[in-house]
């Protein structure tokens, strides 16, 4: 995923001010932002749901503008905080529709739905409206539906907030070595064990993108304060290196 010069304002707030970013294949990247709407906005743009004012982005060399057959969209799945589908749909209907829209034939649909039911523990409430199962069920169904198309890039915006932490971590350790996962969160500490890299968007630009291990090396927690402090440290280091050069 290559993002260059992305700009977008919401109201009077310029949340993305020429954002440049590269995300390698297979990365599990946590994106946090100051102000906190920028990370969610970035995912909305990458999902093709929100239009950027300026800038472009590519996925595996394919730009949105080049997308004639919908192939770009099939490579990307986006999970909004609340699932996004109609609350009167049952988990079975959501999964069936998602699998059908992903273009799977009947046998493949049955296989994928069976897998999803087992992995996400949907068996007991498979045919009841999602709204009756509460937000945790809606979020689990949303994640299962997002994965129906076997996307290369998964964009998760505050995912599974209503799910208990151990279960949440298990579900968000999404298999697939070449699957890139971008996760926008306002609560970085809750993403420990899920992500391998951390990025900070500050004032609309990329302020930091490092492996999560660097926080540990500097004895900093995986929190907004810890990520902000690491960004300051690296900025100071760069300025020091420039001064000594």
């Amino acid at each position: 995923m290559v993002v260059s010069g992305l700009q977008r304002s919401v109201g009077r707030h310029r949340l993305l001010a020429g954002l440049d970013m590269r995300v390698p294949v297979g990365a599990r990247l946590l994106i946090v932002s100051e102000p906190d709407g920028a990370a969610s906005l970035l995912l909305g743009i990458l999902a093709g749901l929100v239009r950027q004012r300026r800038g472009r982005f590519e996925l595996a060399g394919l730009s949105r503008a080049d997308d004639r057959s919908g192939g770009w969209r099939r490579r990307v799945a986006y999970l909004p905080p609340d699932g996004g589908f109609y609350p009167w749909m049952s988990p079975m209907e959501v999964l069936e529709l998602s699998a059908r829209l992903a273009g799977h034939d009947r046998l493949e649909r049955v296989r994928r739905i069976d897998d999803a039911v087992e992995r996400y523990g949907l068996g007991a409430e498979l045919r009841r409206p999602v709204s009756r199962g509460g937000p945790a069920l809606a979020q689990r169904v949303g994640l299962a539906a997002a994965l129906m198309g076997d996307p290369e890039v998964l964009l998760l915006d505050e995912p599974l907030r209503a799910v208990e932490r151990p279960e949440r971590v298990r579900l968000l350790r999404i298999p697939g070595p070449r699957r890139t996962v971008l996760l926008a969160s306002r609560y970085p500490a809750s993403e420990d064990g899920i992500v391998d890299d951390v990025a900070l968007i500050r004032d609309g630009r990329l302020a930091l993108q490092v492996p999560r291990a660097q926080l540990t090396e500097h004895d900093l927690p995986l929190s907004m304060r810890g990520i902000g402090a690491l960004a300051e440290l690296r900025k100071a280091g760069v300025q020091l290196a420039a001064a000594s050069a």
Binding site: A47, G48, R74, G83
Partner: protein, 242 residues
């Protein structure tokens, strides 16, 4: 085609579950009510024929205006709450979302207008013998075509504006164009290519010189205009944030 059918099916179920389908069909059925209530004895045989249809024409144009407002509010709501985004995120083209919703509203319109027209015809009683039933059916079909165009206009506003502004603007605009055409005295609104021409014809069917030809022309123009509005709505939807 799969995607369009999926959206149309979801849209119909959403309209059914939210009672909008029932309310709209009931509203259309109610349009036949003024015709039966207002019909009374008259010394003028021509008035006996035309009087029952004018209230029906006015009520039908008003109901179509409400349907246009509901269409606008519905699409704006779909955008705001993220259900349109959920579909768009699953490789459903945004134009299919607009056309799918249009198809769902077209079904609702037909479910409402056909029985309403039947009821209105029944309320004519003996006067129905002096009105050509084919002319009546063609004029009602032409009014339904205008209804489809009004829904397309509603979807355009829904793709562009928020829920309340979209509902109010499309409903008021449709009412301003269609309802006065059914009322007597505004000749400019009563002839094609004015969108309200079918309602003017319906209101004064016994007096119309070429009701079938004029209705077909007005209906054809409405369908062409509706198609244009639908294309515009799709274009606006493709630029909208979901």
């Amino acid at each position: 085609m799969t995607r369009f059918l999926a959206v149309a099916g979801l849209a119909l179920r959403e309209l059914w579950i939210s009672f909008r389908l029932l309310l709209l069909v009931a509203l259309f059925l109610l349009t036949a009510l003024p015709a039966s209530l207002l019909r009374g004895p008259s010394d003028d045989p021509l008035a006996a024929v035309t009087a029952p249809l004018q209230p029906f024409a006015i009520a039908l144009s008003a109901a179509i205006s409400v349907a246009a407002g509901v269409a606008a509010g519905t699409l704006a709501t779909e955008r705001r709450r993220g259900t349109a985004g959920w579909l768009a995120g699953r490789a459903v083209p945004r134009s299919s979302i607009v056309v799918g919703w249009f198809a769902a509203f077209a079904v609702v319109l037909l479910l409402g207008i056909i029985p309403a027209a039947g009821l209105a015809w029944l309320t004519l009683g003996p006067a129905s013998e002096t009105i050509d039933p084919v002319a009546f059916a063609v004029t009602v079909a032409s009014a339904a075509a205008v209804g489809l165009a009004a829904v397309a206009a509603g979807l355009l506003f829904g793709a562009w504006l928020g829920v309340r502004p979209g509902m109010v603007l499309s409903g008021v605009l449709a009412a301003a164009v269609l309802v006065p055409a059914a009322a007597p005295g505004i000749a400019a609104l009563a002839a094609a290519p004015a969108p309200g021409a079918p309602f003017a014809l319906l209101a004064d069917l016994a007096d119309a010189s070429r009701p079938i030809g004029d209705s077909v022309l007005a209906g054809g123009l409405a369908l062409a205009g509706g198609a244009g509005l639908l294309i515009l709505a799709s274009a606006l939807m493709s630029r909208a944030d979901l």
